[in-house]
């Protein structure tokens, strides 16, 4: 029987208990407590798990299930302790930190907002500035390889300048507008070239509806240029600030 333990995060829980869902490798998930705090664990078969989509989804799934009933301090993917004694040690050494973080996050949720630009909208913008897209298309079909490259480069530059313009004009406004309703906010690296904003917000539970309303208003306002992706509540990955002692 494997001794290593995969750590998903930490919750307030005074007893050892098993959860109804499974984690990485289909292993049972359970809470391992020290006083009134517990680590959420499952048996780890290996010393390191690859960040495959399957494993990442298993990790996220556990956190989201826990979140239904507990506030959780989520760990990043891949944290494994040698055995339960090491986990107990972790809980002891970081007890005060964990209590402090949980207190800070109580009654709050994390919501994520991503904003991406819409391809067709950029095409329309290019056409409205008098650069006929049909002309570009023709060039691609009729021309030599070098001319095709040049045309692609030209189009690429046009797309980039429009996207940068929209970023300047709209993204700060959107972010500021949402910050107004949030207790805290974070910016993350946008993923891929279509993303203009990758943001997270820590919002009081009783302000969730106001926040929803604001996101919908903004999405409608910019609906012919920008696409909004809105998720949550999610585990507060972006607002947990712990330097684990003893790992």
């Amino acid at each position: 029987m494997p001794v290593s333990r995969y750590i998903y995060g930490f919750i307030e829980e005074p007893k050892r208990k098993e959860f109804s869902f499974t984690g990485i490798d289909g292993k049972k998930v359970y809470s391992f407590n020290y006083q009134d705090l517990a680590a959420v664990l499952s048996e780890a078969e290996v010393i390191e798990y690859d960040p495959t989509r399957e494993n990442l989804l298993a990790h996220t799934h556990v956190l989201e299930e826990i979140l239904k009933k507990h506030l959780i301090l989520p760990m990043s993917f891949g944290i494994i302790a040698e055995n339960e004694e090491k986990v107990a040690e972790l809980l002891r050494q970081n007890y005060l930190e964990f209590k402090r973080e949980l207190k800070m996050l109580k009654g709050k949720i994390e919501l994520g907002v991503k904003v991406l630009w819409i391809e067709d909208a950029v095409v329309k913008e290019i056409e409205s500035r008098g650069k006929d897209f049909q002309e570009f298309k023709k060039k691609i079909v009729d021309s030599s390889v070098k001319e095709v490259q040049n045309t692609k480069l030209k189009v690429g530059k046009l797309v980039e300048s429009i996207v940068r313009e929209w970023e300047k004009k709209y993204v700060q406004k959107i972010y500021s507008s949402l910050k107004e309703i949030a207790a805290d906010s974070r910016l993350s690296q946008p993923i891929g070239i279509k993303m203009l904003l990758n943001s997270s917000f820590l919002v009081d539970k009783n302000k969730e509806k106001d926040f929803d309303k604001r996101v919908n208003e903004l999405a409608q306002k910019y609906e012919n240029k920008l696409k909004f992706k809105y998720v949550g509540p999610v585990p507060p990955y972006n607002f947990v600030n712990i330097k684990l002692k003893g790992l």
Binding site: P51, E119, K137, V155, Q189, I191, I193
Partner: protein
């Protein structure tokens, strides 16, 4: 209609083809020299998969190659 933009958007996918072909120079040029760089690329491809822009089969192969790259980087750091 927006096939030219599609082409630009498929740039990460074209990179994927190169990874599949194992061209080392391209890999290094595209910031796949750090763990963070590889994880970023992985996230990009996951997004493309979620949006239906690449197939599950292609994604799985790309993921395999990127994780292999990740292991290589970790080895050089030890």
């Amino acid at each position: 209609m927006a096939f030219i933009i599609d082409d630009l958007l498929l740039m990460p996918f074209n990179l994927a083809k190169k990874i599949l072909e194992g061209i080392k120079n391209e890999v290094d040029k595209e910031r796949l020299v750090t763990k963070e760089g590889v994880m970023e690329k992985l996230k990009e491809f996951q997004l493309l998969l979620d949006e239906g822009k690449i197939s599950e089969k292609d994604y799985n192969q790309i993921e395999k190659n990127l994780i292999q790259r990740l292991k290589e980087i970790k080895k050089t750091e030890e």
